[in-house]
Amino acid sequence: MFSTLFAPDTGEYLIAGYIVVTLVVGLYITSLVIRWKNALQAFRLYTQEFDGE
């Protein structure tokens, strides 16, 4: 019986796992980029106001 054992086909779960990690980390990096751009825009806006005075 044991000689007929072979590795089960669990490749779909492996792919799903790595897609999830890529998505979660990718979304977080995107959020960092967006927040950085927004903060930089606000920073430039305020410093321009100060320079204009």
Partner: protein
Amino acid sequence: MRSKPRLLIALDILSAVMILTAAGLVFFYAPVEKLMGAVQKVFYFHVATAWVGMLGFSAAALAGVFYLREGKERWDIVGVSAVEISLVFFLAAIVLGSIWARPIWNTWWTWDPRLTTAAIVELIYGAYMLLRSGVDDPDRRARFSAVYALFGFISVPLTFISIRLLRTIHPVVIGSAEAASQGGFNMDASMQITFFFSLAAFSIFFADLLWHRIRLGELNSAVETLRVETNQEGI
């Protein structure tokens, strides 16, 4: 605002190369485990993401200690940055574990001591972020966060040792496993190389993200200061 440091650019490149290499090792170098099949390879990034989670929660506790000692805003920024990144990676670790568990344990989730303590850790630090946003005064928020991060940290070693102390079905790959554990395996040399390389790659990736997040926190702080000054000028 200072431009991006060269060291940070180098760290960006290094972490990207290391993460891609780690993924390459997982898919093309590490062998397929005989009993579990390909899903066993989820383990490499599952442990690495959980490691980053614990690394960040530990860094937040340390930053909390430094904040309480020195009272510098920078330590508050370090703390919240570490917790934010770790929440993301710890969530990824929990989801990866769940995906692994489906074919191996025949269930997505079970209230096993390790899974339960991991869920509690995620909730504790999720609450940290929510409660922070509810405190307006920056000094009070920072002090509260520092104390919270210190107490919250108790849950981190508890989660780590839960599979070594309690009766659990969660496997212990390094060290001796509980007799009831299901899904354990012995690592051969190529598995160990992939495993430790993944840990190193994610540690460097964490340092890279932390640096970026701290820079964002400092920029936000500068904007907040300018906003207050502008409002006072207006009055």
